[in-house]
Symmetry: C2
Subunit: 216 residues, 2 copies
DNA sequence: ATCTGTGAACCGGTTCACAGCC
DNA sequence: GGCTGTGAACCGGTTCACAGAT
């Protein structure tokens, strides 16, 4: 029981499960700060807009964290999920592109508090290099490789450059060991095996909403 | 053949299908601008990181848009997808919250060109009301209902307020007829039937990446 | 010969339901 | 009695494979 290692190597976990774990974690942290020490799968389900069975199934892939008849101890579950997701130590976030989105993300404190620290912001435009964004100074695009190498494995590159430049930047950061990329550019990006890319695309989100409204 | 109405009311279409349609559309527009007039499901598949069978299946839910042995006429397919997604006429986007994200989205031109126009940005902070963001002036939060009523059905509300205020804002915009909400606040939001909410959450995206790197 | 359109098979995520512990 | 943990059933999205049109 509570075997962390074998289950997660045995089966690949669905992305939907991982996404829900993130939501559970957020809710648990808030729930803990409100002074609760115990939670049931039923209550936790409401946070993630899912069912209690789903919550229990999600957690069961990684071990048994609850007590039958009682529920889960909030703080234990927080630690367990942090461990599962690899959030015990801090991650460095490198933002490439100091345009509107890049700058806004840099200024935004939202994820700083959650174990992700913006380590640097980069741009190829000499007019932007050297300007201050919050506590950071925009660095030259050409410094990317050298700077990233210092961060080791725990780096996530956030791509906020124009679509035409996106693949080139990704190639460069992957070349110096980055294995996680969050892509805000509206360009389909390809990466070698072992590198994970996620896309965030405002236009697509709006279009999905447009579809939903149009088709009842 | 080419029956638009019955198939889409008959079956509910998977969200994944709608998301891919959006990607196909983006690629097709770019492909068209490069001068191509015809495309095969095989080529289109590469854009959406999927397979040719998936492309054909996605489209088949809505009609037959191609010619066997030949492929699809690019411009016809663009029109067809625009029709399916409800993008023939423009949509108004109302941004609530003039913080970092709200301001960045307002300034960002990315979706303006794709049939979505930012009609207004609102904030409850008197210090922000009246300030200019791009060509828009931040309006008082209290003007929300009156302004939205003017837009009719084709409005999408984008929520960029702190988590604690999110549900209240959503209740208000839904109250005046908004049926599509894009939520940037890190709060689980509930809406009545017939209203669609989508969540964009930076922290979750970063955490999914952290999980992926941590677990091979 | 080529490439679409689509029923059927497949696969995997979700839901069910109940056994197992507190 | 209450709530977790989990195999089994279910469901729906994806893939297969082939018939049909050009």
């Amino acid at each position: 029981m509570n075997d962390f290692t074998s289950p997660r190597t045995l089966k690949t976990i669905a992305e939907s499960t991982v996404r829900r774990l993130s939501l559970y974690l957020r809710f648990l942290e808030e729930y803990s700060s409100r002074g609760f020490t115990t939670i049931s799968s039923e209550v936790l389900a409401q946070s993630g807009e899912t069912t209690s069975a789903q919550v229990r199934k999600d957690l069961s892939f990684f071990g048994s964290f609850g007590k039958r008849g009682l529920g889960y101890r909030v703080d234990d579950l927080i630690s367990a999920i942090r461990g599962i997701m690899g959030l015990e130590e801090n991650w460095s976030v490198v933002i490439v592109g100091a345009g509107k989105i890049g700058a806004a993300l840099t200024r935004h404190q939202g994820f700083t508090t959650r174990g992700f620290t913006v380590a640097g912001i980069y741009d190829s435009d000499p007019a932007k290099v050297g300007t201050a964004i919050d506590t950071l100074t925009v660095r030259a695009d050409s410094d990317l490789e050298r700077d990233i190498s210092k961060h080791g494995q725990r780096v996530i590159a956030v791509i906020c450059v124009p679509a035409s430049a996106a693949q080139g930047i990704v190639n460069r950061v992957v070349g110096v060991g980055v294995r996680a990329v969050l892509n805000f550019a509206t360009a389909p990006i390809s990466v070698p095996d072992g590198v994970t890319v996620r896309h965030v695309n405002m236009a697509t989100e709006l279009e999905i909403l447009a579809y939903a409204v149009t088709n009842r």
